[in-house]
């Protein structure tokens, strides 16, 4: 994953000057915004797909991009990295998208379909158990194990201390263990 330090203040400043008024991204404005988002696009995509499912992923990403574009001038580097800011927006959009149907994701949306790793029935069991987690625990698991962030980055996205992120992950694993006890004890 590309480091957030590659985003320079001058780029953020350029973004702040251009396209004021929240209009449609176009021309140089859009190019600058794309460059700004590009290092984090993969993580945004992974988080959107994990939280909203494959079918709604693109809608969530589009809404997140528009929100990021319209709010770009409110980004404050002292409050967090660009990555944590963008992933926070994706998480919010996914929450809006899946509001009221969190427990009803099609499991094949979560199943990555990879040929390596656990067998299919294990993957399904794990995904089913993850969906049952409390929202904060699930977010920590998704960000750490599936999006591929470090504990520090997970803490940034969730707006919590690094130690809290570690304990949240530990609690989530304990909860998952209880859910999967019959299969893995």
């Amino acid at each position: 994953m590309q480091g957030v330090g590659t985003i320079r203040f001058v780029e953020i400043g350029r973004l702040g000057r251009i396209g004021r008024g929240g209009g449609r991204a176009s021309g140089a404005d859009s190019d600058a915004f794309d460059e700004w988002v590009a290092p984090h696009w993969g993580a945004m995509r992974r988080l959107a797909e994990r939280l909203a499912g494959r079918d709604d992923r693109d809608d969530v990403l589009q809404e997140a991009l528009l929100a990021a574009w319209s709010k770009r001038e409110s980004y404050n580097v002292s409050r967090g990295t660009v990555q944590s800011w963008l992933l926070g927006i994706v998480a919010n959009q996914a929450r809006k998208s899946t509001r009221g149907r969190r427990r009803s994701y099609p499991l094949n949306d979560l199943d990555g379909g990879g040929t390596t790793g656990p067998a299919v029935h294990v993957r399904l069991d794990v995904d089913r158990a993850i969906v049952r987690l409390a929202s904060r625990q699930r977010m920590a698991v998704e960000l750490f194990y599936f999006v591929g962030l470090s504990v520090r980055e997970v803490a940034d996205v969730m707006g919590i201390a690094e130690g809290t992120a570690k304990s949240t992950l530990a609690d989530a694993r304990e909860r998952l263990r209880s859910y999967l006890r019959d299969d893995y004890k």
């Binding site: 449609r24 589009q62 599936f146």
Partner: protein
């Protein structure tokens, strides 16, 4: 046990990421988003435009219909026949009587008439000119004294527009009192016969 879960999740996450296809195109997604976001606004604007155009067309149609009707009415001029003792007599309002005043027996009176038309093309269809009107024929002016005695005064000779001018003479033997001048179509003028 927790390490087992950690290992399981780590392998599961790695496998999931490996199974992902390519990322969607970021630039096209942002560009598409603008159009998608504006789609309801565009649709609403289109509806408003359609309504405005349709409403405007109806107004134009109604306006032109009224214009045609007004034009037809003006040109056809379907007022009832009017006659009197001065040029350009007007059709009296319904129920009102018109008087030419006091006249002595044997005096001459100029009588003018308008709108003595046999047909009236006061309805025209849009795009078609109003129909032509034909003057009346065989219009006779009659004097009726207070005793109901009738005297034929003149046969009206009007032009093609239904207007005429004719000089009549109050019958010399007419008794004093109220009398009328009447045409064969039933229109009439009041006249008072005096001996002075």
């Amino acid at each position: 046990m927790s390490d087992d879960i950690h290992d399981l999740l780590t392998r599961r996450g790695a496998a999931w990421r490996d199974g992902l296809g390519p990322d969607p195109d970021q630039k096209s997604m942002l560009a598409r988003h603008g159009a998608r976001r504006r789609a309801p606004l565009v649709a609403a604007a289109a509806c408003v435009l359609v309504l405005l155009v349709a409403g405007g067309a109806l107004l134009v149609r109604e306006s032109s219909h009224r214009a045609a009707t007004n034009s037809a009415s003006n040109s056809a001029s379907c007022a009832a026949p009017a006659f009197g003792d001065h040029p350009n007599p007007t059709t009296p309002d319904f129920g009102k009587r018109v008087s030419i005043g006091a006249r002595t027996p044997g005096s001459a009176v100029e009588i003018y008439g308008r709108f003595y038309l046999a047909t009236c093309a006061d309805t025209a269809t849009r795009g078609s000119p109003p129909g032509s009107s034909a003057p009346m024929t065989s219009v006779v002016l009659t004097f009726v004294d207070r005793n109901g005695q009738s005297t034929r005064l003149a046969t009206i000779r009007h032009n093609s527009a239904g207007s005429f001018r004719v000089q009549i003479r109050i019958p010399p033997a007419a008794p004093a009192g109220p009398a009328i001048l009447r045409d064969s179509a039933g229109h009439q003028l009041d006249v008072t016969v005096t001996n002075r």
